[in-house]
Assembly symmetry: C2
Homo-oligomer: 266 residues x 2
């Protein structure tokens, strides 16, 4: 019978007398430090000295470093711009959301280590997923499919962004450009996957294209496919017949929104 919920978000922000330090100050400073010097540079001592405070003073406002990281994660979730699906349509809204999240994560490359690691509750994450839900509601999703659609989109963006940032950072670490990198990769390939000649052929194709452009294309391709698949699901549900045709009335639960679909037993 421990504390009923262990997250930061239940415990209040210690609002009181005259705090020379505050949660939001700490979080902002932490984000600055991370942006400037990366994840390894974020230690409580360094953060403290950047705030002009003792290192352990932070622990009055934040229970431990993990909670601080949770706050930081939510902070950057607050940076992604939220589109209005009612005015630009669900597909564009979903795209804007996806691209917005992507560029926000790229703007804070250290976020990769946080984003998959801990669940994203917290006000800004909720705002984001609320808007996502809103978007797919406008699209016509109902019941569980609504969540499934949003989390599919989220998963795709998170899943692409992480490895991309990883690539970018190791290429920034070594002082070689894309071509040299690919050449080196080929060496690795030849000696580790010598029996996979199709891979070697594959990588050879990238020799003379801009890696960054390819990655952008890559993201867009997958996003389009996912949205196409979602749209297809939508059409299928609205038109149960084998051939696509508009149907006179919605197949199940005439009301436009919320809690349709009884969703298989318990």
């Amino acid at each position: 019978m421990k504390p009923p919920l262990t997250s930061v978000w239940t415990r209040e922000s210690r609002p009181a007398k005259s705090p020379t330090l505050s949660r939001s100050q700490i979080v902002r400073a932490a984000v600055e430090l991370l942006d400037a010097e990366g994840m390894d540079a974020l230690s409580m001592r360094r953060l403290g000295s950047r705030l002009g405070s003792g290192a352990t003073s932070i622990y009055w406002h934040v229970a431990n470093k993990d909670e601080l990281l949770e706050l930081i994660l939510d902070e950057i979730f607050g940076e992604v711009p939220l589109p209005a699906p009612e005015v630009i349509g669900w597909r564009d809204a979903a795209s804007v959301l996806a691209y917005g999240l992507r560029t926000t994560l790229f703007a804070h490359p250290w976020s990769t280590t946080l984003v998959g690691t801990r669940p994203a509750i917290g006000p800004n994450a909720m705002r984001l997923s609320g808007r996502l839900l809103n978007t797919f509601t406008v699209a016509g999703f109902t019941g569980l499919s609504l969540d499934h659609a949003s989390s599919a989109l989220m998963a795709y963006v998170l899943g692409t962004t992480g490895p991309e940032i990883a690539w970018r950072s190791i290429m920034a670490g070594s002082e070689m450009n894309d071509e040299e990198m690919l050449a080196a990769m080929k060496v690795v390939l030849d000696q580790t996957a010598g029996d996979h000649p199709e891979l070697v052929a594959r990588y050879a194709e990238y020799a003379d294209v801009d890696a960054e452009a390819v990655r952008a294309l890559n993201f867009d391709f997958g996003l389009t496919c996912l949205l196409d698949g979602l749209e297809a699901h939508l059409r299928r549900r609205h038109a149960p017949g084998p051939v696509a045709a508009e149907d006179p009335e919605d197949a199940r639960s005439g009301d436009t929104e919320t809690t349709a679909e009884p969703s298989a037993g318990r």
Copy 2:
């Protein structure tokens, strides 16, 4: 003009005289330790003592902890079963791959912290992505789309698995079941996203369904949508006409398999 490639995979495994310790031993022991006690428990000293060796002896076989983690990541990539797309068809093969990767990652929950963080080169990762490429080649993808399709699938799986593991682990940490968790979540919701009533309504729906089952459904839903989208892309490419109809001959490259399409440029 530093070392041309900084990865583990270029440097050989120190094969020599009579090693009482070896890379693969170290990696296996590390995986055991991680499985048993989690990521925080993996320190060089503990790993050393588990191997019956001094802590710093490991540094003869592995340059630093980061390299060790890279090896560990590749080790678990080796655990995912590889289907044969030529016999079971590309869609099933893609599903098997996706599910295999998913369950492998679930079997090693600590992998979440590794998988998005560093690029997955290394023999086992290459084997996996080789098979992925193979799968989508059988499907009919060519050129850049081939890579885009594989990485889209990979991204989706990685993107779903991470947060799911995170949820599972914090629920394991606190001794509350799904329902209590949801109740607590609702508290958080009410106080952080009080102005998002649709979210609250959303979560209320989950009150009486098995969270694990929903997550499984969730994964399958997104996977299906993605594969549907990929298939649609395929059909669109093969039948350029506005309305879908079977075409008398395959648009490009009649041979059934392998490295079709000269793929622009070069």
